[in-house]
């Protein structure tokens, strides 16, 4: 336990020091990793702790990003109002999508989440008056919270790091709470949970909404990082990458989505420099992970370490 605290402290310090020693390329890469971490961590609430595999999580990231960009650029609303609107709207969308998707479970749930996300994706492409279609929305500037400019890569990285830290802490607390333990109960033994007095549907629906909210937070970070939004962010590829991050890192663990999301983003960035078909490499790496550590990197490494200590 003591060494674990030490590791966390060391990585935290190096994460804070990073923007002062690294170049802009690496700072931006790290920012992308953090955004992907928030996204995967939010999806992990559903996939890992609720046992509900979704292929439509990009809908919430993209929806928040579009509301934020749209209200700021088109309507000229201040960033704080735009952010609140984006998160409120995304949470509401998650509530509606959750109510629909939770009519099914397992593969049916997966397909419904995918279908709903494709609807949002299609709207972003076709509702040109609202979204500017394939051209995307441009002209977004980063906010100045408390008078601090986030225009430089380093400043934006630190703001993202802070947000990621808050997100992971809140999710960690959630998982250990009475609600979080009950949620895992509905994953492992839904029938028993109902017989014990837990409203399984409501527990899952709540988890869906919470997951949607945090995906919305990732969406805000994303849109302010890019200063631009295009319908492709709503595509299934975004959802699938998030899901890959969760599964590769280890679903149902706190560190899993962190490791997995970092792996996906870094592979994507580096591999795309050297080979055109980087998706193939990504696929090969994941096949390897699934073969060697079927339940993900974090549980896999943990098991290896336990074996070594024995």
């Amino acid at each position: 336990m003591k060494t674990r605290g030490l590791y966390i402290a060391i990585s935290l310090v190096s994460l804070i020091v990073l923007p002062f020693v690294a170049g802009d390329f690496y700072i931006n890469l790290a920012t992308q990793v953090l955004i992907a971490v928030v996204f995967s961590a939010s999806l992990n609430i559903l996939v890992g702790y609720a046992g509900l595999s979704s292929l439509g999580h990009a809908a919430f990231l993209g929806f928040a990003a579009y509301i934020c960009a749209g209200t700021t650029v088109t309507l000229g609303l201040p960033p704080l109002v735009a952010a609140v609107l984006a998160l409120a709207g995304t949470t509401l969308l998650a509530a509606i999508f959750g109510a629909i998707a939770l009519r099914a479970s397992g593969l049916g749930f997966l397909m419904i989440t995918l279908a709903l996300a494709q609807v949002v994706w299609g709207l972003a492409y076709r509702w040109v008056g609202l979204t500017n279609g394939d051209n995307g929305l441009t002209g977004l500037t980063r906010p100045h919270p408390f008078g601090v400019s986030l225009d430089s890569p380093a400043a934006f990285y630190l703001a993202t790091l802070l947000t990621t830290g808050i997100a992971l802490t809140v999710i960690a607390i959630l998982v250990g709470s009475a609600y979080g333990v009950s949620l895992q109960g509905t994953r492992d033994q839904p029938r028993r949970m109902a017989a014990l007095g837990h409203n399984v549907w409501l527990v899952r629906w709540t988890a869906f909404i919470i997951a949607g909210f945090w995906a919305g937070v990732a969406g805000l970070l994303y849109v302010y990082y890019q200063r631009y939004i295009h319908p492709s962010v709503l595509s299934m590829a975004t959802s699938a990458e998030g899901l890959l991050g969760v599964i590769a890192g280890g679903s149902g663990t706190l560190a899993g989505p962190v490791v997995g999301a970092a792996l996906v983003v870094i592979l994507k960035n580096y591999a795309s420099i050297y080979i055109e078909r980087w998706n193939m490499l990504l696929g090969a790496v994941f096949v390897l992970i699934v073969l060697v550590m079927p339940d993900g990197i974090v549980p896999g490494v943990r098991r290896l370490l336990a074996r070594r200590d024995r």
Binding site: G176, S177, A178, V181, G185, Q189, A195, L196
Partner: protein
């Protein structure tokens, strides 16, 4: 006339033409110990599943403590004081014994929605869960994972989850199945010690122990009630001998 703990009227259930429950009517008084017997496939567990709300009946009515619950979902029935165990173990395999019982206790408390407070810090809950485990003789194993338990211990944990809730009506589905002679005695004592404020309906094939625990007996065959009455009258009935005890 007192309000019955459980009232079943003209209940019907069939699965694609296979009749599992056929016009079953039953009345169980508060505090009663009722034993359900019958050959395999008689529809005993199907009846339990309808009482607990896992299955909706095709026709008929179910009343718990005077309230119609026929279409109520399982969790609402649990909040009315109904608890059950399963013939096939239905535990939380990744969790410790303590966590298992905590989930049972949380089921009836508003605190189950708390998203902030670490569950491990809830001392009162931990204490109560430990007491429930001690009640079935598993007090010393609280921090073990379920996977580390023997089959007999798992059976007792199965009962502990239901008992922890101090239910008004408890449905026990073959609590002795697969247990050794000593383990049977342990579980028999656990069931015998349940206070009379809890009404108990029991499905069991071990007649030596089960008849001893029961006040009244209902014999089912092909989903139909064949004989129904006090223990001695049902044992004495020639139809019981023919359908069930005679082999």
């Amino acid at each position: 006339m007192t309000v019955p703990a459980l009232l079943i009227e003209n209940l019907h259930k069939s699965f694609r033409g296979l009749i599992a429950t056929n016009d079953v009517t039953m009345r169980i008084e508060p505090g009663e110990r009722r034993l359900l017997i019958g050959p395999n496939g008689a529809g005993k567990t199907t009846l339990f599943n309808q009482i607990s709300g896992d299955l909706l009946p095709g026709a008929g009515r179910i009343e718990l403590f005077g309230t119609d619950v026929t279409t109520l979902p399982p969790h609402r029935r649990a909040h009315m004081g109904l608890a059950r165990t399963y013939q096939i173990l239905t535990l939380f395999p990744r969790e410790t014994l303590l966590r298992n019982v905590e989930l049972a206790l949380l089921g009836l408390r508003p605190g189950r929605w708390n998203m902030v407070r670490p569950l491990a810090r809830d001392r009162a809950l931990v204490q109560e869960a430990a007491v429930a485990l001690t009640r079935v003789g598993l007090g010393g194993l609280a921090d073990r994972p379920v996977a580390a338990l023997s089959y007999g211990e798992k059976r007792r944990l199965e009962i502990a989850l239901a008992l922890a809730q101090n239910p008004r009506l408890l449905l026990l589905d073959e609590p002795l199945a697969g247990l050794s002679t000593e383990e049977r005695e342990t579980v028999r004592k656990v069931i015998a010690d349940i206070p009379r404020t809890t009404t108990v309906v029991l499905i069991e094939h071990d007649m030596d122990i089960a008849l001893d625990l029961a006040d009244t007996v209902t014999l089912l065959q092909f989903g139909t009630v064949i004989v129904d009455g006090t223990r001695d009258s049902v044992i004495a009935d020639p139809r019981t001998r023919e359908v069930y005890l005679g082999h």
